[in-house]
Subunit: 491 residues, 2 copies
């Protein structure tokens, strides 16, 4: 085949290196730089309240401070920390500030940060069981722990037919669930033929945008996603869902998936999971439940009513990276039956074959996700669960719920404001009674002050202020001050 | 709407907490634990050679050592480090061992690990420019630096119509490129209608399995993926590609995407990118180039022949997390025109609207990827580029190439072995002349010894040994010993 010749020709282009020294940090240099980095993070967490929450830079400000070209020669670590302070920090919106109330939180914690550090240090790649058995088995284990911690149905335990897997975001979790639903609905033929038949999908107009995005990606088409009506509390109306399904069946369509939400993004509305699940079951439709934010509240037994009916779900997601003190990325996807998921996402080329995989005795998580490579993310949740213990997590999540209730009361007690939606967990939706213009001014004024940050949505076409209370270090005084700022901005 | 009543009812379920203390680490506790974690990583990197490269545990060994239930109360950080050593480490396959030659490497470095630490410490979430302008602008900037560093076509610079974005893995990069191709081929209607028409796709049988996986996910169907013949060096045959495209057009199909590979997974074969690209252009087909592994070699000017023709690509990927000292995850996706990618993946719900987005003056990277949330991954590549400088990266990548050439010579000089494919970059494919059984014994014996780890593939139906030389700390002595082990195992 003449490959020897080609090989020689190709590689002879590479000049031998004269230098034989190494550019790597020595272990001693790593210790010094590492301790400096830890000190930097420690100071950041001490000082985080002093930064404007929302970055105040203009587009292009950061880039214009950076050199146009990559450096020819190496620089000391101190130079990077210096530029981090001088160039990068003004462009950071401080998600870990206790004054951050925007979107849904992406909270974090010290043990999680250190889990990420050790995971990066190990640099193991857990695409297959064999490529780091501990990464796979610890993942399976902490996902089972999570089922217990949140009182989720035993169906989701790996010890039965189900199991959990870590995804990067809820969008990816929802996508792989919808792909499995697509394949099941077409007798596992679409992967091969691309023939989607006439699949339809169902969710409420208040579901997260990732549902529509997944429907697009999967080739089902947004036009085949039915938006089910919601009630006056923005929760899905099951009667309408069933009517849509029946209409589609009558029209020759194949309903493939229903997505219900426990805690919608706009207002944390809780879809009636049990009734929706019963309808999905009745028609043989995959039932996916998105509890990405609100699911963490179930760490408190008194909040487990949220998951009523979750045992009817084929798949379920909760994101510890939102409200369980585990830094991005960590979305937990559970399935009641892992077989259709694996059947949908598995491909086994020769170069990935190994004895453990061939034995069928192990989990290869690459078959549970879009990507092949995987970081060792179980470590950080393991550290979080062990550092806080169940009681610590219950305490802090419970405290966030208490603060949300407190804020709810302040809103209710102020005649200039009104609640805009039920407060089901840690998000308070409210508005000034003066209309959209006043409310927009409130958002802009408070966020521009840098003293607190929150975001908006629209409910019934009206601008609505949202305060999500879930940052790790948020205490009553922060919520109080944010509320005072809002009241003042309305004057 | 009665929401006040509902809110009160719902939240009154939450018991007020009696305890008011915090379970969080104090900054002082974080400093102590952080320094212990840095020390742990430093020692790991010092001792990594002493571990068996391939974990020697049996399925279930790790889980059986873990407590069945999550802890009720918190534990000290020392307990986690203790269990890391005692329980987790035996189950780690050491990708950062200099004796790791399996798959393609996923190498790392000290500055990258510290970039990951600081990114986790900041905990910013860069889904939108506004949610951390520095995360977005540094990403755009280092991706432009990467274009310069690797001598990639200017088309991929953000300053023109193109640009780069960080994805978690090459699988995701390829998926979003294929989605953009799908939409462009259908006049941007498939997202909405789900009508894929009769799309076809093209790649060689030696392309990575992620191409077929993406074709499945996108709903195009594996049956519509044409596998183009390869030549005797496992590179795509452009004549066959054009014949397949013409046949499909004649049959009423719509060719949507061609994927060429610079450095296939089995043998780092280099598809003739220029000729393939010319054919794709001629027929108006999206041209995607996968240089996930080999692309990093272009840090050396003398290796830039690899990318000949890359200016014809609509999209191109290279993974710094494979061979550019940047720990997982960091796959760099470049597009020549960002408009179709954004048009394909963008959805803008009200709760994500903001002035900067509405102005159109900024990049919101959520529109360039599957997920919504994003970690601040640009930081670690920034640290790597600044620590090593261009010359440091050139030195170490060049050294890996030198070692691959050295090993190639040893194989050629030993009459019991033969090269199985051209050595184009840092992967050497070879086999013992004694047949599959002998070669399987070599793999099994060496990997079971724990002294080195490498993997296999099949070429022309014959078992082939693969040694990828790209781990950060691999030196000549490691390659020498691995080769000695292989020769001994064959006796």
């Amino acid at each position: 085949m003449g490959s020897e010749c080609r090989a020689k020709r190709v590689l002879s282009n590479v000049k031998p290196m004269d230098k034989r020294h190494s550019y790597h940090m020595t272990p001693e240099e790593f210790r010094a730089a590492g301790n400096a980095a830890v000190e930097w993070v420690a100071r950041y967490l001490e000082d985080v309240e002093s930064y404007p929450v929302l970055s105040q830079v203009e587009p292009g400000d950061i880039r214009s401070s950076l050199p146009a070209h990559p450096p020819k020669t190496g620089e000391p670590f101190e130079a990077m920390l210096h530029d981090l302070d001088e160039i990068i920090m003004p462009g950071i919106t401080h998600w870990q500030s206790p004054n951050f109330f925007g979107y849904f939180n992406a909270n974090s914690s010290a043990p999680s940060i250190l889990g990420e550090l050790i995971s990066a240090g190990l640099g193991s790649q857990g695409m297959l069981w064999a490529t780091s058995p501990a990464a796979t088995e610890l993942e399976t284990h902490v996902m089972d722990w999570l089922v217990e911690l949140l009182g989720l149905p035993d169906l989701f335990l790996s010890t039965g037919s189900g199991g959990g897997v870590i995804q990067d975001t809820a969008s990816s979790s929802t996508l792989v669930a919808i792909l499995a639903a697509r394949e099941r609905a077409t007798g596992f033929t679409t992967n091969d033929t691309g023939d989607l038949g006439h699949l339809t999908a169902y969710t409420s107009g208040h579901a997260h945008s990732s549902v529509e995005k997944a429907i697009r990606i999967a080739g089902i088409g947004a036009a085949n996603l039915r938006l089910v009506d919601v009630d006056e509390e923005y929760a899905m109306q099951p009667e309408h869902l069933e009517r849509l399904i029946l209409e589609d069946i009558a029209a020759g369509k194949t309903p493939a998936v229903v997505v219900a939400t426990i805690g919608t993004t706009s207002s944390t509305a809780i879809d009636p999971v049990r009734r929706v699940g019963e309808i999905a079951r009745r028609h043989g439709v995959w039932f996916h439940v998105d509890a990405a934010l609100a699911g963490s509240a179930a760490v408190l037994p008194e909040m487990r009513w949220l998951n009523d009916g979750a045992e009817l779900a084929d798949s379920y997601i909760v994101n510890p990276h939102k409200w369980l003190f585990t830094n991005m990325d960590f979305s937990a996807l559970f399935v009641a039956d892992r077989a259709p998921l694996i059947k949908t996402l598995s491909i086994l080329p020769e170069y990935l074959r190994n004895q453990a995989t061939d034995s069928g005795a192990v989990i290869d998580y690459r078959d549970w996700q879009i990507g092949l490579g995987r970081r060792f993310r179980a470590l950080k949740l393991w550290f979080v669960l062990r550092h806080y213990g169940v009681e610590g997590l219950q305490h802090h999540v419970g405290e966030h719920l208490r603060l949300a209730r407190l804020l709810t009361g302040w809103v209710q007690d102020n005649p200039d404001f009104e609640l805009a939606a039920p407060v089901t967990v840690n998000l308070v939706c409210f508005r000034h009674v003066g209309g959209d213009e006043v409310n927009q001014r409130i958002v802009d004024t408070v966020n521009a002050s840098g003293k607190a940050f929150f975001t908006h949505t629209k409910l019934d076409g009206r601008l609505t202020l949202r305060m999500a209370i879930g940052q790790t270090y948020t205490e009553e005084r922060h919520v109080r001050r944010a509320w005072d700022l809002i009241v003042d901005a309305a004057l």
